[in-house]
Protein backbone atom coordinates (compact mmCIF):
# COMPACT_ATOMS: atom_id res chain seq x y z
CA UNK A 1 0.00 0.00 0.00
CA UNK A 2 2.67 2.43 1.09
CA UNK A 3 4.90 1.50 -1.84
CA UNK A 4 2.15 2.09 -4.33
CA UNK A 5 1.45 5.56 -2.97
CA UNK A 6 5.14 6.30 -3.29
CA UNK A 7 5.10 5.17 -6.92
CA UNK A 8 2.39 7.59 -7.83
CA UNK A 9 4.30 10.43 -6.23
CA UNK A 10 7.46 9.55 -8.09
CA UNK A 11 5.99 9.50 -11.54
CA UNK A 12 7.07 12.36 -13.76
CA UNK A 13 4.39 13.66 -16.04
CA UNK A 14 6.67 14.81 -18.86
CA UNK A 15 7.05 11.64 -20.90
CA UNK A 16 3.62 10.25 -20.22
CA UNK A 17 5.32 7.08 -19.00
CA UNK A 18 6.09 6.58 -15.35
CA UNK A 19 9.32 5.17 -13.99
CA UNK A 20 7.76 1.77 -13.70
CA UNK A 21 7.01 1.78 -17.40
CA UNK A 22 3.22 2.05 -17.05
CA UNK A 23 1.62 4.72 -19.19
CA UNK A 24 -0.43 7.16 -17.10
CA UNK A 25 -3.64 8.37 -18.58
CA UNK A 26 -5.84 11.23 -17.59
CA UNK A 27 -9.23 11.93 -18.96
CA UNK A 28 -11.65 14.71 -18.17
CA UNK A 29 -14.36 12.08 -18.26
CA UNK A 30 -14.69 10.27 -14.93
CA UNK A 31 -16.92 7.26 -14.59
CA UNK A 32 -19.60 7.41 -13.23
CA UNK A 33 -19.70 11.04 -11.94
CA UNK A 34 -19.34 12.68 -15.34
CA UNK A 35 -21.90 10.33 -16.82
CA UNK A 36 -24.46 11.33 -14.18
CA UNK A 37 -23.62 15.00 -14.73
CA UNK A 38 -24.03 14.78 -18.51
CA UNK A 39 -27.18 12.71 -18.00
CA UNK A 40 -28.76 15.41 -15.85
CA UNK A 41 -27.86 18.17 -18.33
CA UNK A 42 -29.17 16.10 -21.24
CA UNK A 43 -32.37 15.28 -19.34
CA UNK A 44 -32.97 18.92 -18.49
CA UNK A 45 -32.37 20.00 -22.10
CA UNK A 46 -34.78 17.34 -23.38
CA UNK A 47 -37.36 18.43 -20.85
CA UNK A 48 -37.02 22.10 -21.78
CA UNK A 49 -37.27 21.35 -25.49
CA UNK A 50 -40.27 19.13 -24.95
CA UNK A 51 -41.94 21.81 -22.79
CA UNK A 52 -41.45 24.43 -25.49
CA UNK A 53 -43.06 22.04 -27.93
CA UNK A 54 -45.86 21.03 -25.51
CA UNK A 55 -46.80 24.62 -24.67
CA UNK A 56 -46.63 25.75 -28.33
CA UNK A 57 -44.12 28.45 -27.57
CA UNK A 58 -42.86 30.32 -30.62
CA UNK A 59 -39.30 29.91 -29.38
CA UNK A 60 -37.72 31.77 -32.27
CA UNK A 61 -39.68 34.86 -31.36
CA UNK A 62 -38.90 34.93 -27.64
CA UNK A 63 -36.35 37.70 -27.76
CA UNK A 64 -38.37 39.62 -30.31
CA UNK A 65 -41.20 39.59 -27.79
CA UNK A 66 -39.43 41.88 -25.41
CA UNK A 67 -39.25 44.43 -28.21
CA UNK A 68 -42.90 43.84 -28.92
CA UNK A 69 -43.74 44.52 -25.28
CA UNK A 70 -41.85 47.77 -25.58
CA UNK A 71 -43.93 48.67 -28.64
CA UNK A 72 -47.19 47.89 -26.89
CA UNK A 73 -46.20 49.91 -23.87
CA UNK A 74 -45.13 52.84 -26.04
CA UNK A 75 -48.19 52.96 -28.25
CA UNK A 76 -51.03 51.94 -25.99
CA UNK A 77 -49.90 52.73 -22.46
CA UNK A 78 -48.16 56.00 -23.24
CA UNK A 79 -48.60 58.66 -22.03
CA UNK A 80 -49.90 57.63 -18.60
CA UNK A 81 -53.00 59.57 -17.60
CA UNK A 82 -51.69 61.06 -14.35
CA UNK A 83 -54.62 63.43 -13.96
CA UNK A 84 -56.83 60.45 -13.35
CA UNK A 85 -54.94 59.37 -10.26
CA UNK A 86 -54.37 62.87 -8.94
CA UNK A 87 -57.58 63.00 -6.95
CA UNK A 88 -58.77 62.29 -3.43
CA UNK A 89 -60.48 59.03 -4.24
CA UNK A 90 -57.23 57.52 -5.41
CA UNK A 91 -55.31 59.03 -2.52
CA UNK A 92 -57.78 57.36 -0.17
CA UNK A 93 -57.14 54.07 -1.95
CA UNK A 94 -53.40 54.51 -1.37
CA UNK A 95 -53.96 55.15 2.35
CA UNK A 96 -56.26 52.14 2.51
CA UNK A 97 -53.61 49.99 0.88
CA UNK A 98 -51.04 51.12 3.43
CA UNK A 99 -53.44 50.44 6.30
CA UNK A 100 -54.27 47.03 4.90
CA UNK A 101 -50.59 46.12 4.62
CA UNK A 102 -49.89 47.49 8.13
CA UNK A 103 -52.68 45.52 9.76
CA UNK A 104 -52.05 42.35 7.79
CA UNK A 105 -48.34 42.40 8.55
CA UNK A 106 -48.96 43.25 12.21
CA UNK A 107 -51.48 40.46 12.80
CA UNK A 108 -49.31 38.07 10.83
CA UNK A 109 -46.23 39.02 12.87
CA UNK A 110 -48.02 38.63 16.20
CA UNK A 111 -49.16 35.16 15.19
CA UNK A 112 -45.81 34.21 13.73
CA UNK A 113 -44.02 35.05 17.00
CA UNK A 114 -45.97 32.18 18.51
CA UNK A 115 -45.56 30.02 15.43
CA UNK A 116 -41.82 30.69 15.33
CA UNK A 117 -41.69 29.58 18.95
CA UNK A 118 -43.85 26.49 18.48
CA UNK A 119 -42.35 25.53 15.11
CA UNK A 120 -38.71 25.69 16.24
CA UNK A 121 -37.70 22.19 17.21
CA UNK A 122 -35.25 23.19 19.92
CA UNK A 123 -37.64 25.25 22.10
CA UNK A 124 -41.08 24.04 21.04
CA UNK A 125 -43.17 23.34 24.18
CA UNK A 126 -44.03 19.93 22.78
CA UNK A 127 -41.77 18.67 19.97
CA UNK A 128 -44.05 15.71 19.40
CA UNK A 129 -47.45 17.36 19.05
CA UNK A 130 -47.27 21.17 18.82
CA UNK A 131 -44.17 21.26 16.61
CA UNK A 132 -45.59 19.36 13.59
CA UNK A 133 -48.92 21.21 13.78
CA UNK A 134 -47.24 24.62 13.88
CA UNK A 135 -44.86 23.60 11.13
CA UNK A 136 -47.69 22.38 8.91
CA UNK A 137 -49.70 25.55 9.48
CA UNK A 138 -46.76 27.77 8.52
CA UNK A 139 -46.13 25.68 5.42
CA UNK A 140 -49.80 25.83 4.45
CA UNK A 141 -49.84 29.63 4.72
CA UNK A 142 -46.72 29.79 2.58
CA UNK A 143 -47.84 27.38 -0.11
CA UNK A 144 -51.09 29.13 -0.89
CA UNK A 145 -50.34 32.25 -2.89
CA UNK A 146 -51.61 35.54 -1.45
CA UNK A 147 -53.94 35.99 -4.43
CA UNK A 148 -55.63 32.68 -3.71
CA UNK A 149 -56.03 33.67 -0.06
CA UNK A 150 -57.62 36.90 -1.27
CA UNK A 151 -60.08 35.12 -3.54
CA UNK A 152 -61.02 32.66 -0.79
CA UNK A 153 -61.62 35.39 1.78
CA UNK A 154 -63.52 37.51 -0.72
CA UNK A 155 -65.78 34.55 -1.45
CA UNK A 156 -66.51 34.08 2.22
CA UNK A 157 -66.68 37.71 3.40
CA UNK A 158 -67.57 39.66 0.28
CA UNK A 159 -65.71 42.58 -1.31
CA UNK A 160 -63.87 44.96 0.96
CA UNK A 161 -60.70 45.64 2.90
CA UNK A 162 -61.31 43.02 5.59
CA UNK A 163 -60.67 40.02 3.30
CA UNK A 164 -57.55 41.84 2.09
CA UNK A 165 -56.30 42.26 5.65
CA UNK A 166 -56.95 38.59 6.39
CA UNK A 167 -55.27 37.42 3.17
CA UNK A 168 -52.22 39.55 3.98
CA UNK A 169 -52.24 38.14 7.50
CA UNK A 170 -52.02 34.59 6.17
CA UNK A 171 -49.33 35.70 3.72
CA UNK A 172 -47.29 37.38 6.47
CA UNK A 173 -47.60 34.32 8.72
CA UNK A 174 -46.16 32.14 5.99
CA UNK A 175 -43.41 34.62 5.22
CA UNK A 176 -42.32 35.62 8.73
CA UNK A 177 -43.15 32.37 10.53
CA UNK A 178 -40.62 30.35 8.59
CA UNK A 179 -37.85 32.96 8.82
CA UNK A 180 -38.42 33.38 12.54
CA UNK A 181 -38.49 29.64 13.26
CA UNK A 182 -35.18 29.28 11.41
CA UNK A 183 -33.76 32.13 13.46
CA UNK A 184 -34.94 30.54 16.71
CA UNK A 185 -33.49 27.19 15.74
CA UNK A 186 -30.01 28.70 15.51
CA UNK A 187 -29.90 30.36 18.96
CA UNK A 188 -27.43 29.60 21.73
CA UNK A 189 -29.14 26.95 23.87
CA UNK A 190 -27.03 27.78 26.92
CA UNK A 191 -29.21 30.79 27.77
CA UNK A 192 -32.30 28.61 27.41
CA UNK A 193 -30.73 26.03 29.70
CA UNK A 194 -29.97 28.70 32.30
CA UNK A 195 -33.62 29.80 32.48
CA UNK A 196 -34.78 26.19 32.63
CA UNK A 197 -32.28 25.45 35.40
CA UNK A 198 -33.64 28.22 37.60
CA UNK A 199 -37.20 26.90 37.29
CA UNK A 200 -38.61 29.06 34.50
CA UNK A 201 -41.74 27.84 32.73
CA UNK A 202 -42.15 27.68 28.95
CA UNK A 203 -43.29 31.29 28.68
CA UNK A 204 -40.37 32.56 30.76
CA UNK A 205 -37.93 30.44 28.78
CA UNK A 206 -39.23 32.09 25.64
CA UNK A 207 -39.32 35.66 26.99
CA UNK A 208 -35.88 35.53 28.67
CA UNK A 209 -33.97 32.72 26.99
CA UNK A 210 -35.15 32.90 23.39
CA UNK A 211 -36.61 36.28 22.48
CA UNK A 212 -33.70 38.53 23.52
CA UNK A 213 -31.48 36.48 21.20
CA UNK A 214 -33.74 36.86 18.17
CA UNK A 215 -35.02 40.38 18.86
CA UNK A 216 -32.76 42.10 16.36
CA UNK A 217 -33.45 39.48 13.71
CA UNK A 218 -37.14 39.77 14.48
CA UNK A 219 -37.08 43.53 13.98
CA UNK A 220 -35.40 43.01 10.63
CA UNK A 221 -37.90 40.34 9.65
CA UNK A 222 -40.78 42.62 10.71
CA UNK A 223 -39.63 45.45 8.50
CA UNK A 224 -39.07 43.06 5.63
CA UNK A 225 -42.51 41.51 6.12
CA UNK A 226 -44.15 44.92 6.09
CA UNK A 227 -42.37 45.73 2.84
CA UNK A 228 -43.40 42.48 1.17
CA UNK A 229 -46.94 42.76 2.50
CA UNK A 230 -47.25 46.25 1.02
CA UNK A 231 -46.07 44.94 -2.34
CA UNK A 232 -48.79 42.29 -2.20
CA UNK A 233 -51.37 44.76 -0.87
CA UNK A 234 -51.08 46.90 -4.00
CA UNK A 235 -52.42 43.97 -6.01
CA UNK A 236 -54.86 42.10 -3.72
CA UNK A 237 -57.52 44.62 -4.71
CA UNK A 238 -57.42 43.12 -8.18
CA UNK A 239 -59.45 40.22 -6.81
CA UNK A 240 -61.88 42.32 -4.84
CA UNK A 241 -60.05 43.31 -1.69
CA UNK A 242 -60.04 47.10 -2.13
CA UNK A 243 -57.21 49.61 -2.25
CA UNK A 244 -55.16 50.47 -5.32
CA UNK A 245 -55.63 47.04 -6.87
CA UNK A 246 -59.34 47.70 -7.18
CA UNK A 247 -58.63 50.80 -9.32
CA UNK A 248 -56.27 48.72 -11.40
CA UNK A 249 -58.89 46.03 -11.95
CA UNK A 250 -61.56 48.51 -13.03
CA UNK A 251 -59.34 50.19 -15.58
CA UNK A 252 -57.96 46.93 -16.94
CA UNK A 253 -61.50 45.68 -17.45
CA UNK A 254 -62.55 48.89 -19.17
CA UNK A 255 -59.37 48.81 -21.32
CA UNK A 256 -58.48 52.29 -20.10
CA UNK A 257 -54.84 51.64 -20.94
CA UNK A 258 -53.49 55.10 -20.22
CA UNK A 259 -55.15 55.23 -16.81
CA UNK A 260 -53.88 51.70 -16.14
CA UNK A 261 -50.39 52.89 -17.00
CA UNK A 262 -50.70 55.76 -14.52
CA UNK A 263 -51.84 53.38 -11.77
CA UNK A 264 -49.00 50.96 -12.55
CA UNK A 265 -46.48 53.77 -12.42
CA UNK A 266 -47.84 54.89 -9.04
CA UNK A 267 -47.72 51.32 -7.71
CA UNK A 268 -44.14 50.83 -8.88
CA UNK A 269 -43.14 54.17 -7.43
CA UNK A 270 -44.66 53.44 -4.02
CA UNK A 271 -43.18 49.95 -3.91
CA UNK A 272 -39.74 51.33 -4.70
CA UNK A 273 -40.15 53.97 -1.98
CA UNK A 274 -41.20 51.31 0.52
CA UNK A 275 -38.26 49.16 -0.49
CA UNK A 276 -35.87 52.06 0.06
CA UNK A 277 -37.34 52.70 3.51
CA UNK A 278 -37.17 49.00 4.35
CA UNK A 279 -33.55 48.65 3.18
CA UNK A 280 -32.53 51.74 5.10
CA UNK A 281 -34.34 50.65 8.26
CA UNK A 282 -32.89 47.16 8.11
CA UNK A 283 -29.38 48.45 7.69
CA UNK A 284 -29.96 50.68 10.75
CA UNK A 285 -31.16 47.65 12.70
CA UNK A 286 -28.14 45.65 11.60
CA UNK A 287 -25.86 48.41 12.80
CA UNK A 288 -27.61 48.50 16.18
CA UNK A 289 -26.67 44.86 16.63
Amino acid sequence: MGEKALDIEQQSGSSGTGRDGIRREWSRFKYPNSLIGYGIVLGLLTFFTYSVHYLNIPAERIFGMFGRVGDVLATRYFPPDFEYIADFGYFDAVIETIQMAYLGALFGLIISVFLGWFAAYNVSPSPRYIYPVARLFTMGCRSVHEMIWTILFVTILGFGLLPGVLALTMFSIGFAGKLLAEEVESIDMGQVEAIRAMGGNHLQVFVYGVFPQVRVAFTGISIYTWDVAFRAATVVGFFGAGGMGWYLKRNVMQIETERTAAILVSIIGLVIVSEFISTWARSRVDKAK
Partner: protein, 250 residues
Protein backbone atom coordinates in the same frame (compact mmCIF):
# COMPACT_ATOMS: atom_id res chain seq x y z
CA UNK B 1 -28.76 13.77 57.18
CA UNK B 2 -27.34 14.43 53.75
CA UNK B 3 -28.58 17.29 51.58
CA UNK B 4 -28.25 15.43 48.34
CA UNK B 5 -28.07 11.71 48.02
CA UNK B 6 -27.48 10.07 44.66
CA UNK B 7 -27.71 6.30 44.24
CA UNK B 8 -26.71 4.16 41.26
CA UNK B 9 -27.34 6.93 38.72
CA UNK B 10 -27.25 5.92 35.07
CA UNK B 11 -27.75 8.12 31.99
CA UNK B 12 -27.52 7.91 28.23
CA UNK B 13 -28.54 10.43 25.56
CA UNK B 14 -30.25 8.04 23.17
CA UNK B 15 -31.66 4.58 23.71
CA UNK B 16 -28.93 2.90 21.66
CA UNK B 17 -26.14 5.36 22.43
CA UNK B 18 -23.30 4.72 24.85
CA UNK B 19 -24.01 4.90 28.57
CA UNK B 20 -22.56 8.18 29.88
CA UNK B 21 -23.01 7.46 33.59
CA UNK B 22 -22.62 3.88 34.76
CA UNK B 23 -24.04 3.74 38.25
CA UNK B 24 -22.80 6.72 40.30
CA UNK B 25 -23.53 7.05 44.03
CA UNK B 26 -22.47 9.82 46.43
CA UNK B 27 -23.75 12.05 49.24
CA UNK B 28 -23.44 15.79 49.70
CA UNK B 29 -23.68 16.93 53.34
CA UNK B 30 -24.62 20.27 54.83
CA UNK B 31 -21.72 22.72 54.42
CA UNK B 32 -19.91 20.67 51.79
CA UNK B 33 -18.00 22.13 48.88
CA UNK B 34 -18.10 19.03 46.77
CA UNK B 35 -15.95 18.65 43.66
CA UNK B 36 -16.31 16.29 40.74
CA UNK B 37 -13.08 15.87 38.83
CA UNK B 38 -12.10 13.74 35.89
CA UNK B 39 -10.89 13.88 32.29
CA UNK B 40 -13.10 15.48 29.65
CA UNK B 41 -15.79 13.13 28.42
CA UNK B 42 -15.97 11.38 31.81
CA UNK B 43 -19.58 12.45 32.32
CA UNK B 44 -19.07 15.34 34.78
CA UNK B 45 -21.42 17.75 32.99
CA UNK B 46 -24.04 15.05 32.51
CA UNK B 47 -23.91 14.20 36.21
CA UNK B 48 -24.43 17.84 37.23
CA UNK B 49 -27.33 18.20 34.77
CA UNK B 50 -29.00 15.06 36.08
CA UNK B 51 -29.35 16.63 39.54
CA UNK B 52 -31.85 19.26 38.29
CA UNK B 53 -32.98 17.03 35.43
CA UNK B 54 -31.76 19.15 32.54
CA UNK B 55 -30.71 15.67 31.46
CA UNK B 56 -33.10 12.86 32.32
CA UNK B 57 -31.31 9.93 33.98
CA UNK B 58 -32.31 6.46 32.79
CA UNK B 59 -32.04 4.73 36.18
CA UNK B 60 -31.13 5.36 39.81
CA UNK B 61 -32.44 7.73 42.47
CA UNK B 62 -31.72 11.32 43.48
CA UNK B 63 -32.96 12.60 46.84
CA UNK B 64 -32.73 16.29 47.63
CA UNK B 65 -33.62 16.79 51.32
CA UNK B 66 -35.99 13.81 51.25
CA UNK B 67 -37.65 14.84 47.97
CA UNK B 68 -37.39 12.17 45.31
CA UNK B 69 -36.27 14.36 42.41
CA UNK B 70 -36.89 11.83 39.67
CA UNK B 71 -40.55 11.37 40.61
CA UNK B 72 -41.51 15.05 40.35
CA UNK B 73 -44.06 16.21 37.76
CA UNK B 74 -43.14 19.14 35.53
CA UNK B 75 -44.63 21.86 37.74
CA UNK B 76 -43.11 20.43 40.94
CA UNK B 77 -39.85 20.08 39.08
CA UNK B 78 -39.90 23.80 38.30
CA UNK B 79 -40.64 24.56 41.97
CA UNK B 80 -37.65 22.45 42.95
CA UNK B 81 -35.38 24.00 40.31
CA UNK B 82 -35.99 27.52 41.59
CA UNK B 83 -34.20 26.52 44.81
CA UNK B 84 -31.18 25.14 42.94
CA UNK B 85 -28.78 27.78 41.69
CA UNK B 86 -26.70 26.87 38.66
CA UNK B 87 -23.57 28.53 37.34
CA UNK B 88 -22.37 27.64 33.87
CA UNK B 89 -19.08 27.27 32.05
CA UNK B 90 -20.13 29.68 29.27
CA UNK B 91 -21.99 31.92 31.78
CA UNK B 92 -25.24 31.56 29.79
CA UNK B 93 -26.28 35.13 30.52
CA UNK B 94 -28.96 36.79 28.46
CA UNK B 95 -26.44 38.71 26.39
CA UNK B 96 -28.80 41.38 25.13
CA UNK B 97 -30.23 42.34 28.52
CA UNK B 98 -28.69 44.57 31.16
CA UNK B 99 -26.78 43.20 34.12
CA UNK B 100 -29.68 44.21 36.35
CA UNK B 101 -32.24 42.33 34.27
CA UNK B 102 -29.97 39.31 34.19
CA UNK B 103 -29.69 39.22 37.97
CA UNK B 104 -33.43 39.82 38.34
CA UNK B 105 -34.11 36.94 35.98
CA UNK B 106 -33.00 34.73 38.86
CA UNK B 107 -36.42 35.45 40.39
CA UNK B 108 -38.29 34.04 37.38
CA UNK B 109 -39.32 30.92 39.27
CA UNK B 110 -41.30 33.16 41.62
CA UNK B 111 -43.01 35.67 39.29
CA UNK B 112 -46.14 35.33 37.20
CA UNK B 113 -46.52 35.62 33.42
CA UNK B 114 -47.48 39.33 33.22
CA UNK B 115 -44.59 40.46 35.42
CA UNK B 116 -42.16 38.32 33.47
CA UNK B 117 -43.27 39.71 30.10
CA UNK B 118 -43.02 43.36 31.17
CA UNK B 119 -40.03 42.79 33.50
CA UNK B 120 -41.77 44.51 36.40
CA UNK B 121 -40.02 42.98 39.39
CA UNK B 122 -40.84 43.85 42.97
CA UNK B 123 -38.84 46.58 44.67
CA UNK B 124 -37.51 44.15 47.27
CA UNK B 125 -36.12 42.00 44.47
CA UNK B 126 -34.41 45.02 42.95
CA UNK B 127 -33.03 45.89 46.39
CA UNK B 128 -31.65 42.36 46.80
CA UNK B 129 -30.21 42.39 43.29
CA UNK B 130 -28.35 45.61 44.09
CA UNK B 131 -26.95 44.12 47.30
CA UNK B 132 -25.82 40.99 45.50
CA UNK B 133 -24.19 42.98 42.71
CA UNK B 134 -22.31 44.94 45.34
CA UNK B 135 -21.29 41.70 47.06
CA UNK B 136 -19.78 40.35 43.82
CA UNK B 137 -18.17 43.73 43.10
CA UNK B 138 -20.21 44.87 40.13
CA UNK B 139 -22.00 47.86 41.66
CA UNK B 140 -20.65 50.10 38.89
CA UNK B 141 -21.90 47.95 36.04
CA UNK B 142 -25.59 47.70 36.91
CA UNK B 143 -26.96 49.13 33.66
CA UNK B 144 -24.38 47.76 31.26
CA UNK B 145 -25.39 45.13 28.80
CA UNK B 146 -24.18 41.67 29.71
CA UNK B 147 -22.15 41.20 26.54
CA UNK B 148 -20.10 44.33 27.28
CA UNK B 149 -18.52 42.73 30.36
CA UNK B 150 -15.31 40.72 30.59
CA UNK B 151 -15.42 36.98 31.23
CA UNK B 152 -14.75 37.28 34.95
CA UNK B 153 -17.38 39.99 35.34
CA UNK B 154 -19.91 37.91 33.45
CA UNK B 155 -19.33 34.95 35.73
CA UNK B 156 -19.88 37.27 38.71
CA UNK B 157 -23.23 38.23 37.18
CA UNK B 158 -23.93 34.50 36.85
CA UNK B 159 -23.13 34.07 40.56
CA UNK B 160 -25.42 36.96 41.54
CA UNK B 161 -28.17 35.51 39.38
CA UNK B 162 -27.86 32.11 41.03
CA UNK B 163 -27.91 33.69 44.50
CA UNK B 164 -31.00 35.69 43.56
CA UNK B 165 -32.84 32.38 43.58
CA UNK B 166 -32.17 32.02 47.34
CA UNK B 167 -30.80 28.58 46.55
CA UNK B 168 -30.35 25.77 49.04
CA UNK B 169 -27.98 24.01 46.67
CA UNK B 170 -25.54 25.44 44.14
CA UNK B 171 -24.55 23.50 41.03
CA UNK B 172 -21.37 24.69 39.33
CA UNK B 173 -20.67 23.39 35.84
CA UNK B 174 -17.00 24.14 35.14
CA UNK B 175 -17.40 27.71 36.38
CA UNK B 176 -13.80 28.66 35.66
CA UNK B 177 -12.74 26.87 32.51
CA UNK B 178 -13.57 29.88 30.30
CA UNK B 179 -11.48 32.16 32.55
CA UNK B 180 -7.77 32.72 32.96
CA UNK B 181 -6.05 31.19 36.04
CA UNK B 182 -5.91 34.35 38.15
CA UNK B 183 -9.58 35.24 37.57
CA UNK B 184 -10.49 31.58 38.08
CA UNK B 185 -9.02 31.63 41.56
CA UNK B 186 -10.80 34.89 42.42
CA UNK B 187 -14.13 33.54 41.21
CA UNK B 188 -13.75 30.28 43.12
CA UNK B 189 -12.74 32.17 46.30
CA UNK B 190 -15.79 34.41 45.90
CA UNK B 191 -18.12 31.44 45.49
CA UNK B 192 -16.60 29.68 48.48
CA UNK B 193 -16.87 32.66 50.76
CA UNK B 194 -20.46 33.33 49.73
CA UNK B 195 -21.38 29.68 50.09
CA UNK B 196 -19.90 29.59 53.60
CA UNK B 197 -21.62 32.82 54.51
CA UNK B 198 -25.04 31.68 53.31
CA UNK B 199 -24.47 28.06 54.40
CA UNK B 200 -25.29 26.69 50.96
CA UNK B 201 -23.77 23.36 49.96
CA UNK B 202 -22.06 23.36 46.58
CA UNK B 203 -21.67 20.63 43.98
CA UNK B 204 -19.04 21.65 41.53
CA UNK B 205 -17.48 20.00 38.55
CA UNK B 206 -14.07 21.24 37.71
CA UNK B 207 -11.21 20.18 35.50
CA UNK B 208 -8.44 22.01 37.35
CA UNK B 209 -7.30 19.54 40.05
CA UNK B 210 -5.11 22.08 41.82
CA UNK B 211 -8.01 24.52 42.13
CA UNK B 212 -10.29 21.71 43.31
CA UNK B 213 -7.82 20.76 46.03
CA UNK B 214 -7.60 24.36 47.21
CA UNK B 215 -11.32 25.06 47.38
CA UNK B 216 -13.19 21.84 47.99
CA UNK B 217 -13.44 19.65 51.05
CA UNK B 218 -14.70 16.51 49.30
CA UNK B 219 -13.87 15.12 45.89
CA UNK B 220 -15.16 12.37 43.68
CA UNK B 221 -13.27 11.32 40.57
CA UNK B 222 -15.04 10.12 37.45
CA UNK B 223 -13.58 8.21 34.58
CA UNK B 224 -15.65 7.12 31.61
CA UNK B 225 -18.87 7.15 33.63
CA UNK B 226 -17.46 5.22 36.60
CA UNK B 227 -16.62 6.58 40.02
CA UNK B 228 -12.91 6.02 40.64
CA UNK B 229 -12.42 7.98 43.87
CA UNK B 230 -14.62 9.24 46.66
CA UNK B 231 -13.25 10.90 49.75
CA UNK B 232 -11.97 13.96 51.56
CA UNK B 233 -9.59 16.24 49.72
CA UNK B 234 -6.48 15.34 51.77
CA UNK B 235 -6.98 11.67 50.82
CA UNK B 236 -6.59 12.40 47.11
CA UNK B 237 -3.03 11.32 46.43
CA UNK B 238 -0.96 10.90 43.33
CA UNK B 239 -1.91 7.25 42.80
CA UNK B 240 -5.66 7.93 42.85
CA UNK B 241 -5.14 10.86 40.47
CA UNK B 242 -3.26 8.59 38.09
CA UNK B 243 -6.11 6.16 38.27
CA UNK B 244 -8.69 8.85 37.43
CA UNK B 245 -6.70 10.33 34.59
CA UNK B 246 -5.43 6.97 33.29
CA UNK B 247 -7.16 7.43 29.96
CA UNK B 248 -5.58 10.80 29.40
CA UNK B 249 -2.08 9.54 30.07
CA UNK B 250 -2.57 6.96 27.35
Amino acid sequence: MSVLSVRDLRARYSSNGPEILKGISFDVEEGDFFAIIGPSGAGKSTLIRCINRLVEPTAGTIHLRDVDVLKLGSSDLRKMRRHIGMIFQEFNLINRMSVMDNVLSGRLGYVGPIRSIFRTFQDKDIQRALELLERVGLQDHVDKRADQLSGGQRQRVGIARALMQEPNLLLLDEPTSALDPKISREVMDLIRSIATELKVPVLCNIHDVQLAKETCNKIIGLQDGNKMFDGLTPDLDQSSLEEIYAMEVL
